[in-house]
Amino acid sequence: MTWGLAADSLGVVSNHSSHRAHRAVPRAVRLFALALTAALVGVLAVLGLPAPSAQAAPQDSCAPAGLESASAAPVNLAAAEQGGEDRYTTPTTVPVDSIDVGALELLVPGKLSVGTLSDAGPSICVNSKGVFTGFDNELLKAVAEKLGLQIEFNGTEFAGLLSQVANNRFDVGSSSITTTDDRRKTVDFTNGYDFGYFALVAPNGGPVKSFGDLSAATRIAVVQGTVQDDYVVNTLGLDPVKFPDYATAYANLKSGQVDAWVAPSQQAEGAVRDGDGTSIVENTFSVNNFIAWAVGKNKPNLVAALNSGLDAVIADGTYAKLYEDWVPRELPEGWKPGSKAAPEPDLQDIAAVAAANAEKNVPGEATKPKSTLQQLGDTFFNWELYEKSFPELIKVGLVNTLILSVVSGVLGTILGMILAICGISRSRWLRWPARVYTDIFRGLPAVVVILIVGLGIGPVVKGITGNNPYWLGAVALALLAAAYIGEIFRSGIQSVDEGQLEASRAIGFSYRQSMRLVVVPQGVRRVLPALMNQFISLIKDSSLVYFLGLLASQRELFAVGRDLNAQTGNLSPLVAAGIMYLILTIPLTHLVNHIDRRLRTGRPADVQDDPLPVTAVEKG
């Protein structure tokens, strides 16, 4: 061999110096990320500072307040609509011990699966330990115990609750559901265990002082699908602003985005605090629409059993105790819980207790409404709540967010690879289905896919999932991600120079071997940054699994933040959840940028085992 290597090796030497310049980059990236984080924390600190020392511990609306909170029947009661006769309450019930628990139409024998909400204390809520509770749920627990049933609570959205009960996602809906004739078309109800006033909440000193003041020009907040929604639309004939939950509705009233809020009285009383600058200006009541648990159609045994259990807990005094602990209010004239044969609950004279309480709490100095800035500071940057939120966000939320996004990421990548290979196939029978799938799933909003998969496929596969939508949620996310990942892979594979396939085939590899050994590995490498971006989207989209109804232990970051937000009426836990997302996503974003830069410039020359550079082949 005569020809030398001197000329060639020159090129390598010059490469060394240029690579050294690139090595400084990762350090700069790290510094930048650090600075960004510091800046973020700094901003939070500055904004939060004015408030902390003055703050009382935020009131927990999800703990029994006891008779301290007793209230008489509202004095500002609008002319009550007197309903006709009570057509639905059963005259009597069978004794609890004569009920055949095996004959109940339960999804899982021996276990009562309950759909409930997390944000409507004191009736239904998640407490600071992450347990579903509230008057309705504690009472239902007592009923289940009477019947010898286990009980399991799942958080969901009110708007979807009745359809989830009707579709056998849950055995029972427990959510201060006011019975209406419309709702009786979808589900059956037990006898009433509570009654409901509607409260009208409005800013102090504003133009809205009674239901009569509401007009087409008033922006009225309601929770979508509630009786209040129905009342404002059909009885008042107005067009309300619909929110997904009570906490959001009230937050909008406080910040002035809406002019009034029509809510169940319990929720309104739980939400309105001193210093909010709002008050309950009027209540209204309909004796015909009591509050009851919802059960799927055609489950007479279950309804009868719950009715028997309810009468039993009224008879043994459990009802009275829970009622006085959680929601002590004067019973309205002419109404009592349970069947017509049930005894009156043995309650103290709540009106008298309320009067005595009112005397004790002589309005010393009326709490001054806080300034808007103070209000905002309190709402977003309450340190105590941050301290309280982070442990649960990390222990429950972070774990579930990571499980959901990693599982759906892995599934989505596998499915996406299959889609990509079908998409570049020479057979149209593979190409077209891949195309159709991609078009459909890329064209749908994530939340629609999650609801359709979770609620549509859920009942079909409940034998496998045990009616637990958690993994269905992960699958729905994976189906969505696959459509995007498939396109990412396809574009990556198709961007590989044709000469690579030609060279591989010239060696003697078949088309399939060439794709597997040469083309696909290169295509995948060059789309790593896009894949990482997709994973970041998944982390964020995993918050939507919340819509399917999760056990308290299955809640991901957003659901945990939102429940704490609902429980305290303060947005700080959501901000904390947001910070957790940023802690996950910002480093990933910078990792993506780093990989991207490496792909374009190559790796430092002194590292031999380089999986990345793809710029080797000169373009002709």
């Binding site: 120079d497 078949s510 290169q522």
Partner: protein, 248 residues
């Protein structure tokens, strides 16, 4: 110097080869005869169908009509993958696999197609790299090599399959002038050793000095063919004379 150990020299023949891409009639009845152990150079202006001819001869493109004989036997009915294992090919742009190291590039074929173990394939690859003088670059990625080095790796990769025929498709056109020499020297060595070769090139020096036969193509047909002397010193057609006056 010995490029390869034992190899049977075979002949390669193409007769009446036609190929169209849609309306574009790229090969319009090409005949080529490469005797065992000889080197045929294919010259001609860009777009005359030289590179396409190579790809038809190893069936990367299937001819519309005509026949291909290797060692006197038609190979059109064989599995094309098996045919290509017998014909090594070197490309203008090297087409090394950037995600694999130099030695992995060379070892891939022997390992996956000849069923050698990982170590055996590496052994074979290192032997080929020694022949092209790049053992010291075995474990780096092609991106860190110069063009000349990359093309030598590509030649080693082709030779690692112990082919009976070698194709070179403008193997030096993408190289900086100072790197051309090394690659041409390697090709000349192969020719001297009796490898059957078809070389598409713009290097008229190589065509004249190394090849046994020169084939001049234009517009998808073979215009003239003959020994280098006949082509370069005694051109019969106007087209060849015009072409030579432009490139020489």
């Amino acid at each position: 110097m010995s490029a390869t150990t034992t190899r049977k020299a075979v002949s390669l023949t193409g007769t009446g080869l036609h190929l169209s891409f849609g309306k574009h009639h790229v090969l319009q009845g090409v005949d080529i005869q490469v005797d065992a152990g000889t080197t045929t150079t294919v010259i001609g202006p860009s777009g005359s169908g030289k590179s396409t001819l190579l790809r038809v001869l190893n069936r990367l493109y299937e001819p519309d009509s005509g026949d291909i004989l290797l060692d006197g036997r038609s190979v059109l009915k064989d599995n094309p993958d098996e045919l290509r294992r017998r014909i090594g090919m070197v490309f203008q742009h090297f087409n090394l696999f950037p995600h694999k190291t130099v030695v992995e590039n060379v070892a891939l074929g022997p390992r996956k197609l000849k069923g050698l173990s990982k170590d055996e394939a590496r052994e074979v690859a290192l032997r080929q790299l020694e022949i092209v003088g790049l053992t010291n670059k075995a474990d780096v990625r092609p991106a860190r090599l110069s063009g000349g080095q990359q093309q030598r790796v590509a030649i080693a990769r082709a030779l690692a399959m112990a082919p009976e025929v070698m194709f070179f498709d403008e193997a030096t056109s993408a190289l900086d002038p100072e790197l051309v020499k090394g690659v041409l020297a390697l090709m000349a060595d192969l020719a001297t050793e009796g490898m059957t070769m078809v070389v598409v090139t713009h290097e008229m020096g190589f065509a004249r000095n190394v090849s046994d036969n020169v084939l001049f193509m234009d517009h998808g047909v073979v215009v003239e063919t003959g020994a280098p002397d006949e082509i370069f010193d005694d051109a019969k057609s106007d087209r060849l004379r015009t072409f030579l006056s432009q490139v020489l």
